[in-house]
Symmetry: none
Subunit: 198 residues, 4 copies
DNA sequence: CATGAATGAGGGTTCATTCAT
DNA sequence: GATGAATGAACCCTCATTCAT
């Protein structure tokens, strides 16, 4: 990448981060391009040198968020761990990624409906890939007899719901640290899965 | 109520229901008053005979949703049941209300940020009242030694997250009936709370 | 006039008076038919039984105001008085009428531009008739050598300007009584006319 | 000021002048932003690049008008002239300013009631400052025995009424030139003030 | 690269007016 | 006579987007 290109990529990233931050605070529709520009000491028109449209900005936020989750989740999927341990790791990593990138992931979770058809499809594809990591582990747990025979889809929904809901209440200034929160979720949500074999 | 008034109240309700339905499908900002009017074979201006503003329409949806939840939840709170049983009932009722009024409650869960300051405050008050029903049961369960000593706030967040997430995936045509879903949630989410006293 | 008609005429008059009052306070455009109706404990639609349109309401106010002025001014015109005395009487009467019917006359003076073409023409005709009473006296005063040879049109404008401006500042609670105000205007405005014949 | 800024300031001024012209002809409420835009070969939306709102446009017209009057009047206040001469100058200047900026000042005199609370307050402050110039001279005239002992407030009202009324009848095509009109008003309105000391 | 300027498209809201009951 | 209900026609304003400089 040339210096020029690198510079542009960097600018682009700044814009995405700022957009995500403001989208999270005020919602996609209540954020104007001008606001994003002002925050960056740019002009409205300048944004359009780096970004083709507002919707594309939203898409890129969604995409970055999904990429992050996949980048963190996929290595865990490949680890050689028993299903319960693996699920705990997945949950902990998800919680931590969500906290680390609260803006991007909030946008992903909250503003998806504002994407256009085509972009939504792309995001949903990645989301399905990500969710499959979880259902695979659940399937394995059930088939190896480690987990209760719960419907994996329902369990997946419960886990994602519980964890994703964090964007509603998580605050940097809260009492609990991110590792603690991750542990808590992992404990609480994996516990009912474990078969009570005495 | 006179015949006239009844008719007007009914019309008003129709508008709210239709608004909720479209708000759910497309989001508050992407729904125009005209769309709501068209759906009802009204004119845009006619809507304003029944509703003072678009934001007010959103508020009324939110308020109806909260009132429904409270109306269903508060009687359960007063029942004479052990904490675990009561929590199971609360979860089941919440799931069922959510399913029965999926549009209204989706709006409540997803579009809250579009309310104005004053209205948001009113909704949050009711929401706090509703959430307190759950934390009270958790507190009681912990203090009576029925529940593990989990942080009630965290548990509450997990439960609400898991259950509320339903609006993302629930579909009338799904395989599971609402009673089954309620049971599933109640089982899965209460199980980790129960103290393992052997 | 039958009882029915009398009743209707009375209602009509009430509406005009109320309209004038509110038009004066808030201006023609910032007054809605509904406001006038509310003030009278009527419904918006009921107004239309007595009045064909909002603009007509304005016209009737203007017309009533002009009729009042003419009814008061024309008799004075016919009195057998020297020009200076007659002018003093005209001014005093104008001031007093303005004060007695401050609402109607304020509407006349301030909202004329909102009349439609046809109505404006009718009002201007009456206004010209009224103003002619004043210029006739001025002409007579000049031709009989009682008044300085000022341009009667200019003098008329000064007199009307000074007197009509009252609607900007007159208040029932003011210090001066209407007779005193009338005298003051008559003194001040006629004085420069009187030829300084020593 | 840069070239760009100058251009923008000029455009802004053009808009204000055009607005004033149309407001004068049709009244504030009967003028749409679109009309102003069309007159300038702009688009409705373009107006909003220079002006934040229609009401603000009205306020700026009012403010410009008051500033003009103050700019012309205040230097006269500071001249070392006897009260009668000073009052004559004030009246002449007022007449000439009114004629030079008939649109702006007509808006000031006629559309004040359409300002919002805050803006009205600001305009009234300036108006009071301007009117004080006149009452100060009247006070001085009375206290130095040059003027008859008329109530200065009443005299001020008469003078402003007479002079401001001009916007109702003044026309560029009229017979009299602005200097002549100014002289006329000054003569007529100051004359009654002068004490008849023989 | 950057931006001042301009605009099309659209949305919320108001209100005088109508009309069936 | 009175009115609840409905509506057409405007109008203000916002904003993503474009483009000449």
């Amino acid at each position: 990448m040339s210096f020029r290109e690198e510079r542009a990529a960097q600018r682009r990233n700044e814009i995405l981060q700022t957009a995500a931050k403001i989208f999270r605070e005020k919602g996609y529709h209540d954020t104007s391009i001008e606001e994003i520009a002002n925050e960056l000491k740019f002009t409205k028109a300048s944004i359009y040198y780096y970004v083709p449209s507002k919707e594309n900005l939203l898409y890129e936020c969604n995409d970055m968020a999904m990429n992050l989750l996949l980048k963190k989740g996929e290595p865990i999927a490949k680890l050689d761990l028993p299903p319960d341990e693996k699920m705990r790791e997945l949950i902990k990593q998800h919680v931590e990624t969500l906290i680390d990138e609260i803006s991007l992931i909030t946008v992903l979770l909250q503003q998806e409906y504002a994407l256009n058809e085509e972009h939504r499809k792309l995001i949903i594809e990645k989301r399905d890939r990500y969710e499959k990591i979880f259902t695979d582990v659940l399937d394995e747990g059930v088939s190896t007899g480690v987990f209760e025979e719960y419907d994996p889809k329902m369990v997946k929904m419960i886990i994602f719901g519980a964890v994703n809901w964090m964007f509603h209440w998580y605050s940097k200034s809260g009492r609990l640290k991110k590792k603690e929160i991750g542990e808590f979720f992992a404990d609480y949500l994996v516990k009912p899965l474990i078969k009570n074999n005495q």
